[in-house]
């Protein structure tokens, strides 16, 4: 996670570098430290440093790190030749290194020669079965080929070992949602909520999944999670407000005959409607009529 101060520092440096104000190396270091994806800029400014012998030699040992960073950025931008040059230099310097081997496998992957890349990754994993990056590359590769079930299989294998990896859970959840496997996705989102209970986005996504699953119990749970999203975002999340309305209306439909009115918070839905109307009035008055018809169709306003 990138904190606010780091983000503002990054923005400031980026602005400075874009306007030719210097500090390129500091910017590249920060990008690397925060693991943000700025491949085009890394490629541009990193190559500029690497092509200038004086600047390059002043980096000392960090020169090689920069080569690696630029190589990965180049692959991300599909400038295969630049990546190839960087990897060649690294290859010359560290001929036996696994880290360079990883880069070479990534180059194969970037070129789209899947079978060869797969072979390279497998041999890397044989040497070090705990290489997280290689595991993740494999998942990405399966996904890039459109082999979604393969990606799920790899991810599950990876999560069996590294079960505290949030990003992997999140990726798996999104894949399951894309395949409409909502029960599995719900499990993944629960896992995410457990590890970071205060991130509203996970609550929201979990509520979405529960709502989609349907059924009275799930709808009631979904409503609760929409409510927690509202609480965590301070009522700023439009999707959660709509979610409350949809849930209430759906619960109303389902619970009609049963007369089982267990209303913990009867006002929540009307409050959500008011908040939505207020928000639309403020930010998009011309779409207010759309909102009213939408709410009317839910038979709640």
């Amino acid at each position: 996670m990138v904190s606010k101060t780091e983000q503002s520092q990054l923005d400031r440096l980026e602005n400075q570098v874009d306007n030719g104000g210097g500090g390129d190396w500091e910017y590249l270091c920060l990008v690397r430290k925060l693991k943000v994806r700025r491949s085009d800029k890394v490629l541009k400014y990193g190559l500029a440093i690497l092509n200038d012998p004086k600047k390059r030699s002043s980096l000392g040992q960090d020169e090689w790190t920069l080569y690696e960073q630029v190589a990965i950025a180049a692959m991300d931008c599909q400038s295969i030749d630049a990546a190839k040059d960087c990897i060649k230099v690294l290859q010359k310097k560290f001929s036996e290194s696994k880290r360079v081997g990883r880069l070479e496998a990534m180059l194969l992957e970037a070129k789209g020669s899947w079978a060869e890349a797969e072979k390279a990754y497998s041999s890397l994993l044989e040497d070090n079965p705990l290489d997280q990056v290689v595991h993740k590359r494999r998942v990405a590769m399966a996904k890039a080929q459109g082999n979604i079930s393969g990606a799920i299989e790899w991810l599950n294998k990876y999560l069996e070992i590294f079960m505290a990896d949030n990003d992997a859970w999140r990726e798996l959840a999104e894949i399951y949602v894309s395949l409409q496997m909502y029960k599995q996705a719900a499990f993944c989102y629960e896992e995410l909520i457990l590890s970071q209970p205060t991130v509203p986005l996970y609550h929201l996504a979990y509520a979405d999944v529960l709502y989609t699953l349907g059924g009275l119990e799930n709808l009631q749970m979904a409503k609760k999670y929409y409510a927690s999203t509202i609480d965590l975002t301070g009522g700023k999340n439009t999707r959660a407000l709509f979610g409350i309305c949809l849930c209430t209306s759906a619960i109303g439909h389902l619970a009609k005959g049963r007369n089982k009115e267990e209303k913990d918070s009867p006002e929540l839905q009307s409050l959500a409607v008011t908040a939505l109307e207020k928000d639309y009035k403020q930010r998009a008055p011309e779409k207010l009529s759309l909102l009213t018809t939408a709410l009317k169709s839910m038979k709640i306003s």
Binding site: M163, L194, G234
Partner: protein, 246 residues
């Protein structure tokens, strides 16, 4: 003490400076030797996995109230059931770290190497300092200090009348031993600094048993009471929205 001790400049040239220079050189040398001997440690799959299980179980314990009761129960059984729960350690399978050490020669080797690169140079330099420079008053710090510093600064001189601000050669050696970290991190790069104090700490932590962590985590999971926090959130959301609307 009215009159000051006058230190011979030859002491500066032949004791103080050589001692510091030798300490720095030995530090650098040791860095390169240990770099040569360092074996790339491949972490054990089982240990990594157990660490991850513990992290996940800890997260579960901390955030348990945020998931619905059904999911909570399923997870609790998954973690703690007696047959194949993740945190369940079968009896008799807790490997003794000592036995493990003997069964794995690499582990013993690593220990040996660590010890070799740490203890041997230290003993040698200490013997060398003791032999050549024992009893010297090597330097004087420019401010007065209380008597309590005597054992720190005048190691090797048993004179209670000498002012505490004089530093004996052996104490100078110790000051160098522990105080050169900053210099090393300048010379060798940030992470490479040879830090003796830190290494000694690491030695103490050796022999950590991950299975103990597993069963401890299981015990604390067993006593967790689940109280779903979400129903409360509807009221809180109401309060938030009410504030927003009005």
């Amino acid at each position: 003490m009215a009159e000051d001790l006058v230190l011979d400049t030859a002491i500066r040239d032949w004791v103080l400076i050589p001692l510091s220079v030798v300490m720095v050189l030995i530090g650098v040398l040791r860095y390169f030797v240990s770099k040569l001997m360092r074996s790339t440690q491949v972490p054990d799959l089982k240990i990594v996995k157990e660490g991850q299980v513990i992290v996940r179980a800890r997260n579960f314990r901390a955030g348990a109230n945020f998931i619905p009761p059904r999911s909570y129960r399923a997870r609790k059984i998954y973690f703690t059931n007696e047959e194949n729960g993740l945190l369940h350690v079968p009896k008799g399978q807790t490997p003794n770290p000592q036995a493990q050490m003997f069964s794995d020669p690499n582990m013993a080797m690593d220990m040996m190497k660590k010890n070799l690169s740490m203890i041997i140079p230290q003993t040698l330099t200490f013997a060398w300092v003791n032999f050549f420079f024992s009893g010297f008053v090597a330097a004087k710090i420019p401010f007065p200090l209380t008597q309590r510093f005597r054992s720190m600064l005048q190691n090797g001189i048993d004179l209670s009348t000498v002012d505490v601000s004089y530093v004996s050669s052996r104490s100078w050696y110790f000051l160098n031993l522990f105080g050169l970290r900053g210099l090393f991190s300048l010379i060798l790069g940030e992470e490479n600094a040879v830090d003796d104090t830190q290494r000694m700490m690491q030695m103490g932590g050796f022999g950590f048993d991950p299975t103990k962590g597993l069963s401890a985590e299981k015990d604390s999971l067993d006593i967790v009471q689940h109280e779903w926090a979400l129903p409360k959130f509807e009221h809180r959301a109401e309060a938030v929205l009410r504030k927003l609307v009005h």
